[in-house]
């Protein structure tokens, strides 16, 4: 069962995504700020991270930077969630190696499709 880590400072949105992903058969861990996100990424070694950009204590970009510069976490695919039309920030994350960005509010189907794709690609490369 694939492990997914959700990092977002909106607990209710995290809950919604968690319920959805659980129902689709994934194992889900959650973190509510950037620092916790980095910590859990190291502890649980997830197969995919869903990462918000605007967060307290390390924003999404900083989290990306830390994870991508560490050999243990470098290869975990990252799906960026962005509430703002901050294309600059989004682009910076993608340049760091985040895989794809999804804008809020998103379509559930799209989220599931992307999650599925990213996990499959990951399986193929390893």
């Amino acid at each position: 069962m694939s492990k997914i880590l959700i990092v977002d400072d909106e607990p209710e949105l995290v809950k919604a995504i968690e319920v959805r992903l659980r129902a689709s058969g994934y194992h889900v861990e959650v973190a509510y700020d950037g620092e916790e996100g980095v910590k859990k990424a190291r502890e649980f070694n997830p197969d995919l991270i869903i990462l918000d950009i605007v967060m307290p204590r390390l924003n999404g970009y900083e989290v990306c930077k830390i994870l991508k510069s560490n050999a243990d976490t470098r290869n975990i695919p990252i799906l960026i969630l962005t509430a703002s039309q901050q294309r600059e920030m989004e682009k910076k994350c993608l340049a760091l190696g985040a895989n794809i960005a999804l804008m809020k509010p998103f379509e559930t189907e799209e989220l599931l499709l992307l999650v599925n794709q990213l996990l499959e690609n990951q399986g193929g490369e390893n």
Binding site: E10, E12, L13, A16, I17, V19, R20, A23, A83, S84, Q85, R87, E88, A95, L96, G97, K104, P105, F106, T108
Partner: protein
């Protein structure tokens, strides 16, 4: 009171005796003076005579007439008494401004008197008009002088013709030497050129950062009888407006951002309920939840459109241009609307040229244009369907979205692309929009240097048409270089360009497959972006090459960047599955060393491109 009318009678005293036999008129008294033909002009110079009576038999009646009119500045009516048979003379005199020619045979005191009074009244009105005009001019001058806005008029040679005190103040703020003419102020010269080239209106906003002032200049042509005689420029201090505007836009964008997250949460939970993850729901519950869901979608759309409008109005709407295939974009958007059309029993068709049609544009924004137009077309089409047609002409790409819907009435047509306009109030459609979609669409098309318009027959359907300029990779790259180079030159900074090419890309495609080559290009793109650390550096991806634009970067620094890229590529090559096949060439050029035109720089960078893996092939 009696009004005295001075008339001058030339040569022929018999005219006076005839004139004396008149019925008269209350309040008017004629006072006749006599003059010889030779003395007449002198008399006219000394005294004003609104009416001159002369026989047509004087030596040179036509010259005489012209002299009188000239001396009196057209403020005298000349009446000739002529021999009736001489029609040629009569016509000549009338054509040259004679008030009337009365045949001597028909001359009566009454008819002559009537003619004199008529002429006098018209001349009097003409004179009053003249003095009216003069006081009007004085009022206009006073008005211009006391305006808070700066008014500046320059003639077509750029000389200052009119300037008011406020205008002088603004010009000094802009750095003009007082009293100088022509002005030699960049912004004003640009506006001037713009209008001289035939534009109807030019606007420029200037921020004087050191003084914290915003000026708005508006230029319009000054025409006299259809001919351009100069340019008038109105200057206004818009600092306060700018501040308020900025507050409004900041407010809108903060509010909209904040609204997005709760919407996402709501939407997610609704769809969790609809998908029956926590448990079964009945048909009625499902219907209500569907309504909630579609309203959340609507809210999300409105927020996006408001954000877009706010961006457009604050001038912050930027399109991120790359070389894109419009056919591909159209195909994707049409695909997403296929289910919606089917659900409503409508057809949705796309026809396009067989090959790709590339433009230099923002993929997401162009998709938004297609989305808005197709969504609208479906919404307003109760039966029949929607056709999207892409046409590739030599100069441009034309896109038409044609529906068989309710159409647009003539009065609504004019307001179509204005914001907050909705025309479905009279229809039975249950899906109102925000009234912002088309306004946003128009701006997006125009940002892409295209045009958009609509044709419609009320009740029969509409046709929305927009155009996009076509670009090749080379044209797009040149344009991008030109923009960046220009910006650097304007602030006196250098500009550098790296040109990176993968020669024999067909060879690679043949041996590794197209997918692998696409992946390779993506990886190279990421490598370049990693090496570049600044936001103002740009990577432009082509079919078999990349251009890296280094703004404000002297060539010696660009050489360092080049070194880092070469190093990163060497590292990359070690991991590449077929290092022996990978060839990459890099060239460099910089402004000002290698030229000041984009073509020169690009040619130069191409020409000196060298293989960075010399051990290969």
């Amino acid at each position: 009171m009696e009004e005295k009318v001075n008339i001058l009678i030339v040569e022929d005293t018999s005219i006076h005796s005839i004139l004396r036999d008149n019925p008269g008129r209350k309040g008017v008294e004629l006072e006749a003076r006599f003059s010889s033909y030779e003395e007449c002009l002198n008399n006219l110079c000394r005294e004003r005579f609104p009416v001159v009576l002369s026989p047509g038999s004087i030596p040179q009646p036509l010259n005489f007439l012209q002299d009188v009119l000239r001396v009196s500045k057209d403020q005298t009516a000349v009446i000739f008494i002529v021999d009736g048979g001489n029609t040629e003379l009569i016509q000549q005199l009338l054509r040259n401004g004679a008030w009337a020619c009365i045949p001597r045979e028909r001359l009566t005191g009454e008819s002559l008197f009537r003619e004199v009074i008529n002429a006098y009244q018209v001349i009097k009105m003409r004179m009053e008009g003249f003095s009216l005009k003069q006081s009007y001019i004085r009022q206009m001058e006073a008005m211009v002088e006391s305006m808070l806005e700066g008014v500046l008029m320059v003639d077509k040679y750029s000389n200052v013709v009119v300037i008011n005190p406020a205008g002088k103040r603004f010009l000094e703020l802009l750095g003009a030497t007082p009293g100088a003419s022509p002005l030699k102020i960049k912004e004003i010269d640009e506006l001037f050129d713009f209008i001289i080239k035939g534009e109807e209106c030019g606007v420029k906003e200037i921020e004087l950062e050191d003084k914290n002032i915003f000026l708005r200049l508006e230029a319009t042509p000054v025409k006299e009888q259809g001919e351009l005689i100069g340019v008038v420029i109105l200057m206004r201090d818009v600092t306060t407006e700018k501040k308020v505007d900025k507050m409004k836009n900041d407010f809108i964008s903060v509010v909209s951002h904040e609204l997005r997250t709760p919407l996402t949460t709501m939407k997610e939970f609704i769809s969790i309920l609809l998908d029956e993850i926590p448990g079964k729901i009945n048909a009625e519950q499902r219907e209500y939840l569907q309504i909630v869901k579609s309203n959340i979608d609507r809210l999300a759309r409105i927020i996006n459109e408001i954000l877009d409008i706010a961006k457009i109005e604050s001038g912050k709407m930027r399109i991120e241009r790359e070389l894109v295939d419009v056919v591909e974009i159209a195909r994707e958007v049409v695909k997403t609307f296929q289910p919606m059309a089917e659900e409503r029993g409508l057809y949705l068709e796309l026809s396009h040229p067989s090959g790709p049609v590339t433009t230099y544009g923002d993929k997401d924004r162009l998709a938004q244009v297609f989305t808005n137009l197709i969504h609208n077309a479906i919404k307003f089409t109760p039966q029949g369907g929607v056709k999207v047609v892409l046409k590739d002409t030599d100069e441009e790409l034309i896109v038409e979205v044609i529906d068989t819907g309710i159409g647009i009435s003539r009065e609504n047509m004019a307001k179509l692309f204005m914001k907050f306009q909705q025309f479905n109030s009279d229809s039975h459609l249950k899906e109102p929009g925000t009234g912002l979609g088309l306004a946003v669409t128009k701006h997006l098309v125009e940002l892409h240097k295209g045009k958009i318009w609509a044709e419609s027959e009320y009740g029969k359907g509409s046709r929305f048409i927009f155009t996009l300029p076509k670009y090749t990779y080379h044209q797009a790259l040149l344009e991008l270089c030109a923009e960046n180079l220009h910006n650097c030159i304007m602030v006196n900074k250098s500009f550098s360009l790296l040109y990176i090419e993968i020669p024999d890309i067909q060879f690679l495609e043949k041996h590794l497959g197209k997918d692998k080559v696409e992946q390779l290009k993506k990886k190279l793109d990421i490598i370049f972006r990693k090496v570049l650390r600044r936001n103002e550096d740009l990577v432009f991806k082509g079919k078999e090459s990349f251009a890296i634009l280094l703004n404000m970067t002297p060539k010696e620094n660009a050489l360092v960047v080049k070194g880092r890229i070469v190093q990163a590529l060497h590292d990359f090559r070690k991991e590449f599955e077929r290092p022996d096949m990978l060839k990459i060439r890099i060239g460099i050029a910089g402004y000002p060393e290698d030229g000041s035109r984009e073509e020169e720089l690009l040619d130069k960078a191409r020409a000196n491109a060298e293989n960075i893996f010399p051990e290969v092939g």
